[in-house]
């Protein structure tokens, strides 16, 4: 029962107490009438107010009606309203739901969904959930309780293992559309020979996004070493702009500086990933590993004043408007920028987190998140048809038209359109063409400590030293390795 009910009783009680203080006989009748009226009001409001369910993203019932109408997604409400019969469509009347976090731009999937409606008669609706570790938790809980939507979006790579995919997800390895996907991606959604997902969008780069306008105004050049980067930050700070954007209010964003440095870690020791998986290599004992955490400490003096509580959305605003010059972030954020600040898109570029060698600056690459299939979905055939459409040229064109690509697609034979934003076409492509890329560690090993965001947030706000943070992360990974059954 709602707390509002208690307020009602409380205020009624107050009123009666107040009235009891007067013992005038004539008032007794008015009092009786008043009491009756108030009781009726209270009881009816109990049924009206307390009876309605509050909106919760964890609602057990299928979210298609509630959540789809709540979110102001453009094409969605019209689609669910349009119930006209489409003669001869293979899946007419079938409804699919997709669970996706709120930080990811949905227009691309919706564009494909619109085509699905036209060609297949499918009604695809989105269930938007919170992001970050809360969303993680929600996904795991919904899978474990058998309450998941038909499809859902989740990370590829090592994080997939935590979902226990053989238990909850459909194996789609034999399907015809899987042949179109690059092997490098398929490896990140495969466990023990079974493949579970298709790529949601494009690969992303994890590096330092920078505002080219600020660089132009201050006459700065893209740094090739970490010291050059810090020197640039000094100049920017002196000019009054925030040199580096910090959005530690959303803890996951603080990880990018550390995770994006993987290129430099691998440059020092190319076997780091395999040794780490086996338990022999540690961050605390590898100089490049400690340096990755040190970089978080180095940027601390250049962060915006409210970095400890600023959110991801505020970071997007700062980058696009030039209030902040650099932002260690994944390039998927360009989708948010092109959505909110389309005129600023060409002003933003990216460079790989620099190491100490000016000749070897590389970009750390993240594979796209994947769309996975709930094994218990009732519409498996519809899902497979939807996937077929999603990976077809038509589907990809629709996606690209709705969400400008923020990297290359992992679908073989699909070329990016000519008007792709320069950060992708020029900045990122240069690294890919010269071969100076490395996958993020989470795609090379199954172990990623769950406390990573908190540890990077801690070292980034100056509470620990780099060595302590590296040791803490190692301990966290050890904990996860034990829980996963690895012998460390």
């Amino acid at each position: 029962m709602d707390k509002r009910c208690i307020v009602h009783s409380e205020s009624i009680a107050q009123m009666l107490l107040f009235m009891n203080n007067k013992d005038d006989g004539g008032i007794k009748e008015m009092k009786k009438l008043l009491v009756m009226i108030l009781t009726i009001v209270m009881v009816t409001s109990l049924f009206v107010g307390c009876g309605s369910k509050t909106e919760e993203p964890t609602a057990a019932k299928p979210a298609k009606t509630e959540a789809a109408k709540e979110e102001a997604t453009k094409g969605e409400t019209e689609k669910t309203e349009a119930k006209e019969e489409m003669a001869g469509l293979p899946f007419e009347g079938v409804e699919l739901t997709i669970m996706m976090d709120q930080n990811t731009v949905a227009e691309g999937v919706e564009a494909v969904a619109a085509i699905a409606k036209e060609q297949l008669g499918l009604d695809v609706s989105m269930d938007r959930s919170v992001g970050g570790s809360e969303g993680d938790n929600l996904t795991k809980t919904r899978l474990a309780s058998g309450d998941m939507t038909d499809l859902f979006v989740y990370n590829s790579g090592s994080l997939l293992g935590a979902l226990n995919p053989s238990e909850y997800l459909l194996d789609i390895s034999g399907e015809p559309f899987m042949a179109k996907i690059a092997d490098s991606f398929k490896g990140t959604v495969a466990i023990d020979g079974a493949e579970y997902g298709i790529p949601l969008n494009t690969i992303m780069a994890g590096g330092i996004m920078y505002n080219k306008a600020v660089y132009r105004d201050l006459g700065l050049e893209v740094p090739t070493t970490w010291d050059e980067f810090l020197a640039n930050c000094e100049v920017i700070k002196a000019s009054g702009t925030s040199a580096v954007i910090g959005t530690y209010g959303d803890a996951w964003t603080s990880q990018v500086t550390f995770l994006g440095d993987n290129y430099n870690v691998l440059a020092e020791n190319p076997n780091f990933a395999t040794e780490f998986e086996a338990g022999t290599a540690k961050f605390a004992t590898s100089p490049a590993g400690v340096k990755s955490f040190q970089k978080l400490i180095d940027i601390e003096p250049f962060l915006n004043l409210d970095y400890a509580v600023a959110t991801f959305d505020e970071g997007v605003d700062m980058l696009a408007t030039g209030e902040g010059a650099h932002w260690p972030m994944l390039s998927f954020v360009m989708a948010n920028v092109s959505d909110l600040y389309p005129e600023a898109v060409e002003d933003i570029g990216v460079f790989g987190i620099p190491g100490d060698n000016p000749d070897d600056q590389g970009l750390t690459i993240w594979m796209p998140n994947a769309l996975y299939v709930n094994k218990d979905s009732e519409n498996i055939d519809a899902v497979k048809a939807f996937f077929e459409l999603y990976l077809s040229t038509e589907g990809l064109d629709a996606y690209t038209a709705a969400v400008p690509p923020t990297g290359a697609y992992v679908v073989e034979g699909y070329a990016l359109p000519g008007d792709t934003m320069s950060i992708v076409k020029d900045d990122m492509q240069a690294y890919i063409d010269s071969g100076k890329t490395a996958p993020a560690l989470e795609y090379m090993t199954a172990v990623k400590g769950p406390n990573c965001p908190a540890i990077t947030q801690e070292v980034g706000s100056g509470q620990t030293t780099a060595l302590e943070a590296a040791a803490a992360y190692d301990a966290d990974c050890l904990k996860q390795a034990i829980q996963l059954g690895l012998d460390w």
């Binding site: 530690y248 004043l305 400890a308 801690e458």
Partner: protein
Amino acid sequence: MKASKIYSMWFIVPAATIFSVFFLVPVLISLFFSMTIWNFDSFRFVGFDNFVLFFSERSLAISMKNTVIYAFLSSGLKVVLAFFIAIFLTSRIKSKNFIRSLVFFPNLVSTIAIGMVFKSLLHPTKGFVNTVLGTVGIEGISWLGNPDLALYSVILTDVWKGVSIATVIYIAGIVSIDQTFYEAAAIDGANEWSKLKNITIPLVRPAMNTVILLSLIGGLRSFDLIWAMTGGGPGFASDVLASTIYKQYAAGFYGLSTAGNVIMLVLIGVIAFPLRKLLLQKEMD
């Protein structure tokens, strides 16, 4: 005689069934699973490894310390502040009833809502609190972003909420003190302060003990306010036992999370039972 004995035993059965199914059995199952690595389908017995891990890992040790600080500080502040507010509200003022409802209001609002509202109020650059402080010259305190201040900001918000119910309990206690004590003291020439010290405080002991116990146990278990305001951050600075347990659960370490719950049970038991005995004894005197 025998008939009445059987008669009374059967009456216990319904309550005993509910109690054992919803309380005893889960506790026993938790004790078992806290010694395993578990993922809802299968488990692997590991003995006390989970507990050792809980104590040896730095982030978890911080959370134990924070829990104790949180519980004792918030409880202490509530006990003292609520007492004086209750004294004020039982004296002769006209708008007594209205102010009492006003003071009780924070308790009616959802803790998460309070957490979210205060989180935006305490924003370092755009929050209302800092705007007001800015007009008197105190600039840019990051209430929830500064690792040293974060826990204390949450404690103060908890006190704001909890003082409401503590006040109500105190009012009940003060109002039940026999007026003849005060009259006798007035005849003997006692002033207000002396009356307070020698009559009110000793005789309000039962209410004070209730407040101490409730707020201490509540403080040890507190989770929703911390989660809504800081999520345990920045880093691990405002993590308490309950939020750490939640984080282990969210990471999928169900056995470790259960072990944390067992530790919390033991901690609360170790603090609450002796304290209760001590307070009751003092009450008797």
